[in-house]
Each structure stands twice: as C-alpha cells, then as structure tokens.
Amino acid sequence: MNIEFTLNGKPRMLSISPNEKLTEALRRLGIFSVKTGCNEGACGSCVVSVNGRTVQSCMMYAAQVDGCSVETVESIGSLDHPHPIQNALVEEGAVQCGFCMGGLIMSAKAVFDKNPSPSDEELKIHLDGHLCRCTGYEKIQSALRKLAAGGKA
C-alpha cells in the first residue's frame, strides 16, 4: 500500500507493508536519528512528532501517518544551526553515545513549545519514558533546567 505524508516539512510518498512500523519506514527513508531500542514503547529512542504530538514510532504502524505531518530531530536543528535545546545539552555535557537523544530532544521540544519556562515537574512529566544508559539523567535535567530558567528555547 502507498502512503503520503509530510516528513520534516516535505511531502513524501512511500510504499509500505501494512505491518510495517513507523520506525522502520522512517529509517528506510534515511532518518537514522530514529532508533529501534526496546521496540515496545519503553525506551523513548524512537520518539517522533506526529501532527504536533510526540509518539513512540516503534508502536505505530506506518499506515497510521497517511496524511499526517511527521517531524524528527532532523527538522529542528543541524550541526551548523543547532536548536537551543541541542546547544544546552552539549554545553552541559549531557550527551555521550547519543542513542537516546533523537527521541529525547523531540520530547523536550514538545515541552518547550508549550511553555518556554517549564517547571521541573513539567520536564519530568514529559521526559519520563526516555532511557539514557550513559549520563544518569542528571546532566540532561540540569541542561534543560538551565534552558527553562533562561526561557530561550
């Protein structure tokens, strides 16, 4: 079957199997920031935004995004022009292997899009479900807390 959707602002058409998950389809399109970690919605490394809401792409069928707008971390910053969230994480030393970062940054962006100065509680609510095996979370929280205090995301 064929689906049409907007990926990072550009229209895309893709031939998929009905059983194909969104993670697999995105990686087939070269979006390698979207990782398959647990493949059961527990780790957060596959999180993308669909119509403005973060979702676990490993649990979503690609067919479900027909007609939708899908955004991945590739849409929000680049090496030359990183997003303030990405800058904050780098400055705080909150990134080590980076496996979790694509999904985590999408969830962080969803919080800051709603409120440029989110509380610790809001950050906790929205970032729960992102597993990071390297940093122990302290640096991530610290980076986002500093960004929230500045209100410049």
Binding site: M1, P18, G44, Q64, D66, D128, G129
Partner: protein
C-alpha cells in the same frame, strides 16, 4: 499478529460495515500501543478507527461524555469541576504513550495492568456500544469479564460517560509500580460520598494485583452508614481481601500483593473521604 491489509474508514457506519464484512480476521485499531503484547503470527486485517470521530470530551447534565477515541493525553489536559480522570491519566506510562493510547483501546480489551477500568468502575461509568442499536452498559456489567463478550461483529465502543465527582463526594486513585512508568502492579480507585462524618455511599475498585478489575462490594457494604475512621476501614477490610485471588509477579508473592493492597485501599478510602469533606476532589 501480523497485519496483512489496512483499512481506514472515515465514518462509524463504514467502520461497522468493514468489521462485519471482514469478520474475525478484522483487528480494530485504536492507539495500537498494546499490539506488541498480542502474541502469535496470525494474519489480521487492520481497521483503524482513529478517523471516525468520537474523540472529544463533552460536559453536560452532571456528567462527562468521553469519545472512545479520545487520547489519554486529552484526558490529562482536560480540566473542569468534578473531573478527576486527569489524575489517572497523569500516571499512565509516559507522555508519548499518553499521546497515542485511546481510552477506548484501554478498556476494550483488559490486560491486568490496564489503568482505566479500575477508575471507571469506582466512578460508575457507562459505556456506549454502537451496533445495530446503541447500547449503554454500566461499568459493573462491562468489566465483569473481558468486554469482548459483549461485542457482536461490527460493534464498536464509541463513548464512556462518567458522572461528575460532585458536592460531598471525593475520589482517590492509587497506582503501585516498580518505577514511575512501569505497568501497574496494583491499582485502587475509590469514589465516596459523605454525610457529615458518615460514609453515605462508596465504590471501591481494585485492579492489576488480581486477574480482572473488580469492586470490593463487601467492604463497601461494611462502610456505608458508618462513621469513618481508619480503624473501621481496617476492621472491615480483612475478610474481603482474604477472599480475592491474588496475582503473584516476578517481584512479589500473592501474600505481599494482599498486604500491599491493604495499605493502598485504606489510604485511598481515607483520601476520598477527606476530599469529600472539602480537600482536593
């Protein structure tokens, strides 16, 4: 389960026709977050219900009517006097999962860890199923076994009506997990109405630590008409809890589950009682 074809009906009528035509091979799809727990390689045809509507929350005549396609995040973000399901939603897994899972999906097929059946039992909700006629099914009947037994081919759950938690009433919800976003290991929901210091009415539901969510009706009966005190609750609880069949898990025994339930049920009743007296409802 493997999807071999996928349909996305735009209306309830179209969805019903598809389900009838496809028969048992049809797999109604809502948020799809529970699909990784459906084992087996049987071929199914997906019928995605996401675009047939029934995704809002309406408030009128002392009750909230929630469309079955409303996401858990919608329940989390909704606020109105007498609305308490935001508290249940907030403890539901993680934000991306709350953004995907629908309340209809969470109660159409019950896994032991599902969160909403317990809350809906305590709140005396009513489920509406669209079939040849529209049927309204009270929570006590709906959750008295797997809901699938109530669905004929082509039937679709379309709405859940939940009464407001009104004056002199309180609600409490407890969820025990190993880590915050873990599956529920034990859930307790209590709705309570008081008259002065007496418990005028109460509905207590327990889940996750027992095979299917259930009300503690014997305990409810023992509390109604009594002046509330922790001692009254403790005295009434033992006999009821001893009769339940408890689930052991990888981390605790049946006996531990029962002891933990004793603590949570007592605390939840106390909180609902205080809320009914004017603390946070």
């Amino acid at each position: 389960m493997k999807l071999t074809a996928y349909h996305r009906p735009a209306t309830l009528a179209e969805a019903r026709r598809l389900l009838v035509t496809l028969g048992p091979t049809a797999m109604p799809l809502a948020g799809c977050t529970s699909h990784s727990f459906v084992k087996g390689d049987d071929a199914r045809i997906g019928v995605d219900l996401a675009r047939i509507g029934y995704d809002g929350i309406a408030h009128a005549n002392g009750q909230f009517v929630i469309g079955a396609n409303a996401r858990i995040a919608d329940l989390q973000e909704y606020h109105a006097p007498g609305w308490v399901l935001d508290r249940v939603a907030l403890r539901f897994v993680s934000q991306p999962i709350r953004n995907m899972t629908t309340i209809g999906g969470n109660i159409a097929r019950i896994f032991p860890w599902n969160d909403f059946p317990v809350a809906l039992l305590a709140l005396n909700a009513t489920m509406t199923i669209a079939g040849e006629t529209e049927r309204k099914i009270p929570a006590d009947q709906y959750f008295d076994g797997q809901p699938g037994r109530l669905f004929k081919e082509g039937d679709i759950l379309i709405a859940i009506a939940v009464p407001e938690v009104g004056e002199s009433c309180g609600f409490s919800y407890h969820k025990e997990t190993l880590v915050h976003m873990d599956f529920s290991r034990l859930t307790v929901a209590v709705w309570l109405r008081r008259e002065g210091k007496k418990v005028a009415d109460v509905r207590i539901a327990l889940g996750a630590a027992i095979p299917l969510p259930d009300r503690l009706e014997e305990l409810e009966g023992a509390l109604i008409g009594q002046v509330y005190s922790p001692d009254v609750v403790a005295g009434a609880m033992g006999a009821q809890l001893a009769k339940l069949r408890w689930r052991s898990t990888d981390v605790w025994s049946e006996e531990y589950a029962q002891q933990l339930a004793r603590v949570h049920v007592a605390d939840a009743i106390g909180e609902a009682y205080r809320a009914a007296g004017g603390d946070r409802k």
